[in-house]
Amino acid sequence: MPGKRTIWFFAGLLLLFYGVVILSAGLWEIRFPPVHPPMLFELHAPIWWGALLAVLGAVFIYRNNGRQQ
C-alpha cells in the first residue's frame, strides 16, 4: 500500500496556490489601480507577499514530495 504524504506537503500546496492568486491580484492592481486604494498601496504588498508565499509553498512541496509509510 502506498504511503501518505506529510502535512507539510499540503501546507506547501495551499501556500503556493494562495501565493499565485494573491500575486496575480497584485499584478492586476498595477494594471488597473483601484479607485479607493488601501493605505501604503504604493508598496504593492500583494506582489511581494504573494511572491513570498508562492516561493515558501514551492519549497515546502519540493522538500516534502515523498510519501511516508
Binding site: 501518505k4 501546507a11 495551499l14 492568486v21 504588498a45
Partner: protein, 583 residues
C-alpha cells in the same frame, strides 16, 4: 458621529461616516471574487484533509490519539494552533486597544512559564502513565470519583467553549462580512464536524497545522505595514502617549504597583499568582484540549518538546495580535468603543480592531487571506474542543461507566457520533452565549470554575505521594464549589469584589484572577487536609504516576541542542529579557 477618514477603504469609511444606528450599520469588508476563491479553497482543503486521513483512523488509538506518531514539530504547532481560537485573535487584539501593552501578559506571563513547566515537569507523568486524557490520569492516580467529576466538568466546559468560539466567529462574520449569524454557525459546524468525525484527532491536528500556517500568512502583513506607516516602535510609542495623554499603556509591569495605576485595574500579585500561576498553569497543564496534542507525540522527547516548541511560537503571537491593537491606537482616526456602547451608537467595538486594520492595509486577495486566517483561528479552536470532548466522553464516561467491553470499532463509531453530537450541543451553546454580556468574561469564568482547582489536584497528584483518592476528589469538589460560590457572591453583591480581590480599587478582570487563586488555594488545602486524615495508597500502586515513584527512561541519545531542557531554558531567558525590555 465618527469622522470619515481618507485612510480607510470606502466600505469602512462609509460606515464611520454614517449616522449611528445599529440596524443601519453596513459591514466592514466587501469580498471580491479573488477573496471568495481564497475562502472557498480553504473550506474545500480542510474537508479534503478529513477524507485523506479517514482510512488511517480505524482504531481507538488512531482516532483518539492520532496513533501516537506525531513528530515534536507537528504536535507542538498543533498544540499552539488549538490554543489560537477566536478569543486569542479577536479578543486580545481588542484588549490591546483597551489596555495597551498589558494585554501581552496573556501571551507571556500568562502562558510561557506554564507551557515550559508542562514540558519539563508534568509531561513525563502524563506520557509514561500512557493515559489517553487528563481525566484518565486522575483515574489512575485518584480513582473513579475524581475521574468522573473531572470528565463531566470537562465535557461541559469544552462544549461551552466550543459554543463561544462558534458564536464569536459568527459575530465577526456578521460585522465584518455581513454574513447571517445562523449561516456562519451552521456552516462552520458542519465543516468542523465533518473533518473531525472523518479523521478524528489526526484530521484535527493536520488541519491545525494548515490553520497555523494560514494564521501567520494572513495576519503578519498587518503589523509589517503598520510599523512602516508609523515609522517604527519609538514613533508608535510616542504617538500613543501623545494621543492618550498617558504613558501607562506602553508598559507591562511599571504600572502594576497599585490597582489604579494601570488601565486594566489589576495588581501585580493578581497578574503573577492569579493569571500567571493559577489560570495559566491550570489551562496549559490540565486542559485536555491542548494536552491531547502533546500526548499524540511519537516519543517522550517529542511529547516534552511539543509545549516547548509551542511556547516559542506563543511568545511571537503578540506580533500579530497585540501589535495591531497598539497600531490602531496610533493610526485610527476615531475611537473604538466597548461592545455595548458600539451597539448603541453604531460605532466600532474593540473587537473589530483586527478587521479594521486589515481593511486599512489590504486589497483584494490579501483581504481574503486575512479573513481566511480569522476563520482558520476560529475553526482550530472549535475543532480542538470537539475532538477533546469526543475523547473524554467516549473513553472516560461511555467506556468507563456505560459500556466497558465493546470492540475497538464500536468506540471509534461512538467517537464519530459523539463529534457530531458535541458540535450540535456547541451550536445550542452558541445561541445561549448571545445573551452573555462579555464573551471574554464568560470564558475566564469557566477557566476559574474548572481549570484552577483541577490544576491543584493534578499538581499534588504528580508531586505528593501522600495525596489520597479521597483527598483528590474532595479537594477538586471544594475548589470548584469555592470558585462558583465566589462568582455567585459578586454577581449578587458587586461590592463583594473588594473582599475577593483584596482591594476596593479592583476591577472586573481582577475578579477572575483572584477567584481562580482562591479556588486553587481551597483545592490544595482541602486535598492536603483530607489526605492527611485518610489512608494513602501503597507506593507500589503509584509507579509511573508520582514524582519519586516514577522511573524516567534513560536519557535518549540526543545532542545537547536537541534536549527539551536546553530549549526550555533558552525560551525562558528570552521571556525574561522581553519582560525587562517592555517593563
Amino acid at each position: 458621529m465618527v469622522p470619515s477618514s481618507p485612510f480607510l477603504r470606502p466600505s469602512a469609511a462609509a460606515m464611520c461616516a454614517m449616522p449611528f444606528s445599529a440596524s443601519a450599520k453596513p459591514h466592514l469588508i466587501y469580498l471580491s471574487p479573488v477573496d471568495a476563491i481564497i475562502i472557498v479553497a480553504y473550506f474545500a482543503f480542510v474537508i479534503f484533509i478529513g477524507f485523506y486521513v479517514r482510512k488511517s483512523s480505524k482504531t481507538v488509538s488512531d482516532f483518539f490519539m492520532a496513533g501516537r506518531e506525531m513528530t515534536a514539530w507537528i504536535a507542538g504547532l498543533s498544540f499552539i494552533s488549538a490554543n489560537l481560537g477566536s478569543l486569542e485573535l479577536m479578543g486580545w487584539a481588542g484588549s490591546a486597544y483597551q489596555y495597551g501593552l498589558l494585554a501581552v501578559h496573556a501571551y507571556w506571563i500568562g502562558a510561557i512559564p506554564a507551557m515550559l513547566f508542562l514540558g519539563i515537569v508534568m509531561m513525563p507523568f502524563y506520557y509514561i502513565s500512557r493515559t489517553h486524557s487528563v481525566p484518565g490520569y486522575l483515574h489512575l492516580r485518584f480513582g473513579n470519583s475524581a475521574r468522573a467529576f473531572s470528565a463531566v466538568t470537562f465535557a461541559l466546559m469544552t462544549t461551552l467553549m466550543s459554543g463561544i468560539n462558534m458564536y464569536s466567529m459568527a459575530l465577526v462574520m456578521k460585522v465584518v462580512l455581513g454574513w447571517d449569524l445562523n449561516l456562519s454557525i451552521w456552516l462552520s459546524s458542519i465543516v468542523v464536524a465533518g473533518y473531525v468525525a472523518l479523521g478524528g484527532l489526526r484530521s484535527a491536528i493536520y488541519n491545525e497545522i494548515l490553520q497555523f500556517v494560514l494564521i501567520w500568512a494572513g495576519a503578519l502583513l498587518i503589523p509589517i505595514l503598520g510599523m512602516i506607516e508609523v515609522g517604527g516602535w519609538s514613533n508608535l510609542r510616542r504617538q500613543i502617549e501623545t494621543n492618550l495623554g498617558r504613558s501607562d499603556y506602553m508598559h507591562m509591569w511599571s504600572g502594576l504597583g497599585h490597582f489604579n495605576q494601570n488601565p486594566m485595574g489589576v495588581h501585580w500579585t493578581g497578574v503573577v499568582f492569579g493569571w500567571g500561576f493559577v489560570l495559566a498553569f491550570g489551562y496549559f497543564t490540565t486542559d485536555f484540549l491542548v494536552i491531547q496534542r502533546a500526548l499524540s507525540a511519537r516519543s517522550l522527547r517529542a511529547a516534552r518538546m511539543a509545549p516547548i516548541i509551542g511556547a516559542g511560537f506563543k511568545m511571537m503571537v503578540p506580533a500579530i495580535v497585540i501589535l495591531p491593537g497598539l497600531l490602531a491606537l496610533s493610526v485610527l482616526p476615531f475611537h473604538l468603543l466597548p461592545e455595548g456602547a458600539a451597539l448603541a451608537t453604531g460605532g466600532h467595538s474593540y473587537n473589530e480592531v483586527l478587521p479594521l486594520m486589515l481593511v486599512r492595509y489590504c486589497g483584494p486577495g490579501l483581504i481574503g487571506l486575512g479573513v481566511t486566517a480569522l476563520i482558520a483561528g476560529f475553526m482550530a479552536g472549535m475543532a480542538g474542543n470537539v475532538s477533546a470532548f469526543s475523547t473524554v466522553w467516549t473513553e472516560d464516561i461511555y467506556r468507563a461507566f456505560i459500556n466497558r467491553g465493546a470492540r475497538d470499532g464500536h468506540y471509534v463509531a461512538m467517537g464519530r457520533w459523539c463529534t457530531v453530537v458535541g458540535v450540535l450541543i456547541s451550536v445550542g451553546t452558541a445561541y445561549l452565549v448571545q445573551h452573555s454580556a462579555s464573551i471574554m468574561d464568560y470564558a475566564l469564568q469557566l477557566f476559574s470554575f474548572f481549570m484552577a482547582p483541577l490544576f491543584g489536584t493534578v499538581l499534588l497528584g504528580m508531586l505528593w505521594k501522600r495525596a489520597t483518592d479521597a483527598g483528590g476528589f474532595w479537594g477538586l469538589l471544594a475548589g470548584t464549589g469555592t470558585s462558583i460560590g465566589l462568582w455567585v457572591w459578586v454577581e449578587r453583591a458587586p461590592s463583594a469584589l473588594r473582599y475577593v480581590a483584596l482591594s476596593s480599587d479592583a476591577k472586573g478582570m481582577a475578579e477572575n484572577m483572584y477567584r481562580a487563586l482562591w479556588a486553587w488555594i481551597v483545592c490544595v488545602v482541602v486535598t492536603i487536609v483530607v489526605s492527611l486524615l485518610t489512608t494513602p495508597r501503597p507506593t507500589s500502586q503509584l509507579a509511573g504516576l508520582v514524582f519519586g515513584e516514577t522511573e524516567m527512561p534513560a536519557a535518549e541519545h540526543a545532542e545537547w541542542y536537541e534536549r527539551p531542557l536546553f530549549w526550555a531554558a533558552s525560551i525562558f531567558v528570552i521571556f525574561i529579557a522581553l519582560n525587562i525590555i517592555f517593563w
